[in-house]
């Protein structure tokens, strides 16, 4: 693997002062950092907000918290799907295959299955109050069960994925400061887009609730 050079492809990176680590396997795909990595971080923040509302629901029993929790978790699921799609695309170009037998990828997939289970659980109730309470309990349980899955186990095993098995991620050599200029704002931007999607979903849920009640 080549070292760190400051010479990107001749005319692909025009703007003055914008540089990135031009590594042999990454090349221009480093741009995916803005989408893939930022999507996962935004997803996790959305799940956190969903968790917060689930806890608040159990404490206060206000229906709005349940709807917010549902909206945020569903926005998180959407981001998770997009995160897997962009990651798969990235893996195709850097590791040479759409999917690898890599612990972090597979654990992330399990995390997705757990949240799909949440959606199925929600759809299996007719009693609103029961649905809200049980799905809040399950979403708290699922979130905490995710922590060893996503943050602990992958770090103990060897992995291709950056941030595992001694591979650096977002460390000194990986991310040039000019990339950070785009990377951090893109996390915030994607999180805000997620919030926007979640509040649309919330309003939709609230309105459909009202329509059903008035009938």
């Amino acid at each position: 693997m080549e070292g760190f050079t400051d010479e990107p492809g001749v005319d692909l990176v025009k703007p003055e002062g914008i540089r990135f680590p031009y590594r042999s396997i990454l090349n221009e795909t480093i741009r995916n950092t803005f989408f893939h990595v930022a999507l996962w971080m935004a997803m996790f923040s959305l799940y956190l907000v969903g968790l917060y509302h689930a806890i608040l629901y159990l404490r206060t029993s206000r229906k709005d918290h349940d709807l917010w929790s549902e909206a945020y978790n569903k926005a998180g699921i959407l981001f998770g799907i997009m995160g897997i799609a962009t990651g798969s695309l990235w893996a195709r170009y850097t590791w040479g295959s759409w999917w690898t037998n890599d612990i972090k990828l597979n654990m992330a997939t399990i995390a997705m299955f757990i949240y799909f289970g949440y959606v199925i659980l929600r759809s299996s109730f007719t009693d609103e109050e029961k649905k809200a309470r049980v799905s809040a309990v399950f979403s708290i349980f699922a979130f905490v069960a995710l922590i060893p899955l996503v943050f602990v186990i992958p770090r103990l095993t060897d992995s291709l994925h950056p941030g595992n098995g001694g591979n650096p991620a977002l460390g000194g050599e990986d991310l040039d400061h000019t990339l950070r200029l785009f990377f951090y704002p893109s996390i915030i931007a994607l999180f805000l887009i997620g919030c926007w999607l979640a509040q649309l979903k919330f309003r939709l849920l609230k309105l459909s609730d009202r329509v059903l009640k008035n009938r």
């Binding site: 309470r133 708290i140 899955l149």
Partner: protein, 220 residues
């Protein structure tokens, strides 16, 4: 002391119920033995990692079937009666201990079935037993809690139970498979103690969470 007596009462009740309803108990045993025999006849001979993985898969599926009924087998009226007698923590601890013992028995029998038909592959018994106890505790805790959650849903409980429980059990199952592989001599891993600690940490995390959250399920 009162809590201990209540937990014991629930445990006792579960055991008596199980003894009185022999068909359910023997049904699960038959299920697991049929599964073992199916695996044996499909492979005829089996060793190494396949032995390990298939044994734990057999335990997983018979365990799910056994514990899924944990909260649905009794009438609503008697659940109501328990509600007046015990608090949520006592109920879930009693059920978890009972399901743990049941799953240990089931794992032991599955292991014996595998050894009988396919030959014993375990070399390091203390490691296998220690890992299995820790892992089986985690599995039974997840199954018990998810059984209580899915019992709240309407109809089709079996599917709901598997859809929610199986993804949650995957980290435990992967660790169990790895520890068993070490106990079988397939892998040389000097850091196997770390895996055991990891299992114990997951068990603790799950137990704490279940003790807090079950109260909201039990309200009904």
């Amino acid at each position: 002391m009162r809590t201990f007596r209540h937990v014991y009462a629930i445990l006792y009740k579960e055991v008596v119920l199980e003894i009185r309803r022999k068909h359910a108990f023997f049904g699960i045993l038959l299920f697991s033995m049929t599964l073992v025999f199916l695996i044996y006849k499909s492979f005829n001979q089996l060793k190494g990692l396949e032995w390990d993985v298939l044994m734990w898969t057999a335990v997983l599926f018979s365990g799910i079937n056994a514990i899924a009924k944990s909260f649905t087998q009794e009438a609503n009226a008697s659940q109501m009666y328990y509600y007046t007698l015990f608090n949520a923590q006592e109920v879930i601890i009693g059920k978890m201990i009972y399901n743990f013992l049941f799953l240990v028995l089931l794992t032991g029998l599955t292991y014996l079935g595998f050894s009988f038909f396919l030959g014993n592959a375990i070399r390091d018994f203390p490691l296998f037993i220690g890992g299995a106890l820790l892992g089986v505790y985690g599995l039974s805790a997840i199954f018990t809690f998810i059984a209580s959650v899915s019992a709240q849903g309407e109809g089709n409980n079996g599917v709901l139970m598997s859809v929610m429980a199986i993804p949650l059990t995957i980290p435990i199952l992967l660790l169990l498979i790895k520890i068993t592989a070490v106990a079988m001599g397939l892998l040389v891993d000097t850091a196997v103690g770390e895996d055991l600690t990891m299992l114990a940490a997951i068990d603790l995390l799950l137990s704490g969470l279940i003790l807090i959250l079950f109260e909201f399920i039990w309200k009904d």
